[in-house]
Amino acid sequence: MTALLSAKGLRLAFGGLKAADGIDLDVEAGEFLAIIGPNGAGKTTFINMTTGYLKPQGGTIAFEGKPILGLSPRRIVGLGVARSFQLPQLFTEHTVLQNVALAVAAREGVWSVLTPLLRPRFRDEAAELIARFGLTRITDVRADALNEGARKLVDIAMAVALRPRLLLMDEPTSGVAAAEKMAIVETLVRVLREAGVTAVFVEHDMEVVGRFADRVAVWGQGRIAALGSPSRILNDPEVQRTVIGIAPNGGAHAAA
């Protein structure tokens, strides 16, 4: 059986900085893969390359066996790969409901002009999704009035609304208050498991990684330094020194 996502030999340099220097990674269907590593290691670059925002200078990426390198973000989304963002990308002048409904509509095709966005079918699906993320009470709040944690969740909800088979999340819990973090992640995992979505997420909080990842990939200077089960990776002294060392107590990561 082929991997859901298969990257081979990805290379990309910004000037002298090698953001990807020969990345080989297979993501299996149904797994939750965490990406950890110091800032500047190229974690976000990997997501950007996979989703078509950046074009690698070398290598291949295949999704479900089909090469997706060089496709636009729009085409890649169409194939079933969605993403969320480190800085939430919301439509700031729309409400939470409208944001999520627009994602639902985007999945169904936006080319209808005679029926409203908040037609019953879209509204119900969006409301249901919002409820699953525990955001019902902010349904009608404008996105620019939300706190960071809520924005993050809405951002992910919009990606989930696209019903992807693979979801890439860039630091899903950064900015979320520590007290709420675990509950939110629980919800997230439940929602994704229910939906049968494969997930790749960049994370700095080792507690989150330890609890939810099936596998962990450690990034270092544009390469995968280590790859394996959470228990093995998180206890690796080399990883502890280079990655976890600069992210004490999980969460607030110091400047690199």
Partner: protein, 310 residues
């Protein structure tokens, strides 16, 4: 404001226009022009939703007006000329749109301006055909075979303008609340997200651009049928600026804004010109300044904020 009260407001406005046009004959002309400009501004409003300002939509106005002027020689039927002019404006809008929707903000505005100025020059250049700045006079036109002239003609054009205004207004109102309309608004706040949702912002903007060209086309055709004389000044950049001016004056919050703005603009201009013939620009400038500084929601914003307060 709810959909129902907006509808009621629009119908009341339509009745008011008819009453005014009946009571004050010379206002028929001014109101017809105002309705036409309101139609064009409705298109500007669509683009404003996406955060884009076109300083060149006078191009479509002039294109349609000249289409009517030239077309009337071959087919003098207004009910054929009108859609033909709008269609041509739409086709040219599609071709130009394919190019300009790749640009944003000032580049979008400037490219539109540049193309409309090129069209202006063309109208001046092909002077043997267009008589340059002197413009061309419309040959006699008919509606359903009856001559479009005199008082009946004025009423007919006003009626056509009113029906088009109501129809386009309703359509834009519905379209803005549709997924496409909301995606259009998304271009303003977070264009990249649209791409990552599988929606092409360029195509969304292109759809709005073509629609705006068609509406400007309707406007230009009505203006041609009303003034019966078309000149290249219709495509000069100040005409485009005027459309944006009206959009802000009326308020971008509702499809009624463009028509309120256009009526206010035309009446202010007529009034200012009648009172201060050599300083009417100054009066208009002060009005615009006051609206922007004190009532950023435009006239429509003033009306709704009053309602909310009451």
């Amino acid at each position: 404001m709810t959909r129902r009260s907006e509808t009621l407001f629009a119908l009341a406005g339509a009745v008011l226009i008819l009453v005014l046009a009946y009571a004050v004959p010379w206002l028929r002309f001014v109101l017809t022009i105002a309705l036409a400009k309101g139609l064009a501004v409705l298109g500007i409003l669509l683009l404003l939703r996406a955060g884009q300002v076109s300083f060149g939509h006078a191009l479509y106005l002039a294109l349609a007006a000249y289409t009517v002027a030239f077309g009337a020689v071959l087919v003098p039927e207004a009910l054929l000329l009108l859609p033909a002019a709008a269609l041509l404006a739409g086709i040219v809008g599609l071709l130009i749109g394919l190019f300009v929707v790749r640009y944003r903000e000032i580049f979008f505005g400037m490219l539109n301006l540049a193309l409309s100025m090129v069209f202006y020059s063309v109208l001046e250049k092909f002077y043997a055909l267009t008589h340059g700045a002197d413009g061309i006079r419309l040959p006699p036109v008919t509606v359903l075979g009856r001559p479009l002239a005199g008082e009946t003609g004025e009423w007919t054009v006003l009626g056509i303008a009113l029906v088009l205004a109501l129809a386009c207004g309703a359509l834009v109102r519905v379209a803005l609340a549709s997924p496409l309309g909301e995606a259009l608004a998304g271009i303003k706040t977070r264009e990249t997200r649209l791409d990552f949702m599988g929606v092409s912002p360029k195509r969304v903007l292109l759809a709005a651009y073509v629609a705006s060209a068609v509406m400007a086309g309707f406007a230009g055709a009505i203006i041609a049928l009303t003034t019966r004389h078309v000149t290249p000044a219709l495509s000069y950049w100040t005409t485009s600026g005027e459309l944006v001016f009206i959009a802000i004056l009326g308020g971008a919050g509702s499809v009624l804004g463009p028509f309120l703005g256009a009526a206010a603009y035309e009446l202010t201009r007529v009034y200012a010109a009648a009172t201060f013939a050599n300083a009417w620009q100054l009066v208009l400038g002060l009005v615009l300044l006051a609206v922007i500084v004190f009532a950023p929601g435009g006239i429509w914003g003033m009306i709704t904020s009053r309602r909310r307060a009451a």
